[in-house]
């Protein structure tokens, strides 16, 4: 038994017939081939699956694809606009905010959302914003610095792009 799930992801429309039980993370990865978002745990703790649904970050392992039908999604693949890296992406490069890269897409999506709502967050706000996501490599220090870099350079360059 299948249902139709039609979504817009990073500006592109998709429609697939899937089992209702299919988790959104697997829909993105396996049905749509968007493997930038990852699956790292069973209990909604690690955050490597974070994507945007209607411009809000969500742990996509904890939603059914069916719940996204008719909605707008954004994933890490959609951060770059017209060949230009988003300031959060640039910030992570400048400040060594990633090592193995597995938590990175989720961190980037949360960072982008944070800066969209709080363009000048202090360290405490940044740490709070990413506290639902785990990194085993960086000890969080450079992730915080990367997001600060993006905050400072977004204001210099003008506001970041809105959602795709």
């Amino acid at each position: 038994m299948t249902i139709r799930v039609a979504v817009t992801v990073n500006g592109t429309d998709y429609a697939r017939d899937v089992e209702p039980r299919l988790l959104l993370i697997h829909f993105l990865r396996d049905e749509l081939g968007l493997t930038g978002s990852h699956w790292g745990c069973d209990t909604s703790n690690c955050g490597s699956c974070v994507v945007w649904l209607d411009a809000k970050p969500v742990k996509s392992c904890t939603l059914l694809a069916a719940m996204a039908h008719g909605h707008v999604l954004r994933t890490v693949e959609g951060l770059e606009q017209g060949g230009q890296l988003d300031p959060v992406q640039q910030g992570f490069i400048e400040c060594h905010g990633l090592q193995c890269g597995f938590c990175t897409p989720g961190m980037l999506m949360t960072a982008r959302w944070l800066l969209d709502h709080y363009p000048d967050p202090d360290e405490a706000q940044i740490r709070e914003a990413i506290s639902g996501q785990v990194c085993r490599c960086t000890g969080y220090e450079n992730i915080v610095r990367s997001i600060r870099w993006a905050a400072e350079h977004s204001r210099a360059d003008g506001a970041a792009e809105g959602e795709a």
Binding site: M1, I3, E19, P20, R21, L23, H26, D42, T43, S44, N45, G47, V50, K56, P57, V58, K59, T62, L63, L64, A66, M67, H69, T110, E128, A129, S131, G132, Q133
Partner: protein, 292 residues
Amino acid sequence: MLSMQVPSQVEYERATSVEHALSLLTRPETRILAGGHSLIPMMKLRLAQPEVLVDINGLTELAYIRLDDGQLRIGALARHADLLDSAVAGQLYPILHDAERVVADPIVRLWGTVGGSLCQADPSEDLSAVFAATRAIAVIRGLGGNRMIPVREFHLGPYETVIGPGELLAEVRIPVQPGTGSAYEKVSRRVGDWSIAAAGAVLRLDQNQKIASAGIGLTAVGAEHFVAAQAEDFLLGRAADEESFAAAGAIAAEGCHPVVDQRGPEDYKRHLVAELTTRALRRAALRVTLEA
């Protein structure tokens, strides 16, 4: 712990109205899907295997937080983040903000709903104790109309509520009275973990600064209906001072039934109940003074 990590097969319906949802909910083995952040993890573990899911996320008429006629009314579909962001909720009942700040994590709070958390009825659910402390009323809607059940009678046991087939939780409402202060104190092993124990206190003082009413909610320690009833009774008429609070804490600790688990042994959990009840009462009293 050895589970399948993906849900078993299920049917899916999208509710177009509250009435539509209610009619779907008359079927057996049918569950509401709101934020999904309690239910879907259970389905992944295959501890929950509903036959049909009714997605009510489109029913935005159930998502509100407002002050109405002396009552703080919270729609069941209000997200945790909405409650944390609500200025009116935070002013009237700071206990709500204290608790929401430490429920899950910032991303889960964007999706999990107040109603979903209450209906999941986990013994460690912070909002259950909070609404019990505030003596909130659950508004349950059925096809025949609404019924009001005090939150203190809402839970029948772990993962079990009074909601029957063809019903859904529509709203939680808290009476607002002047001279009230409230607070929530939680200890967990790590940010986002369930409480080892938590205590919420709501105090109303009379003109003589004596306790006119006290609500004490306890999380994760097997308190009946999440309430420290004897501690509440003890406080009535007493001065809002350290001695009363410490005594109330001790009574609360005696009256609960903590389970020994990896969060802690029994003696520690009871100690924590006493300590956190005292701290919550202290802060609640302070907030009354500030408000006056």
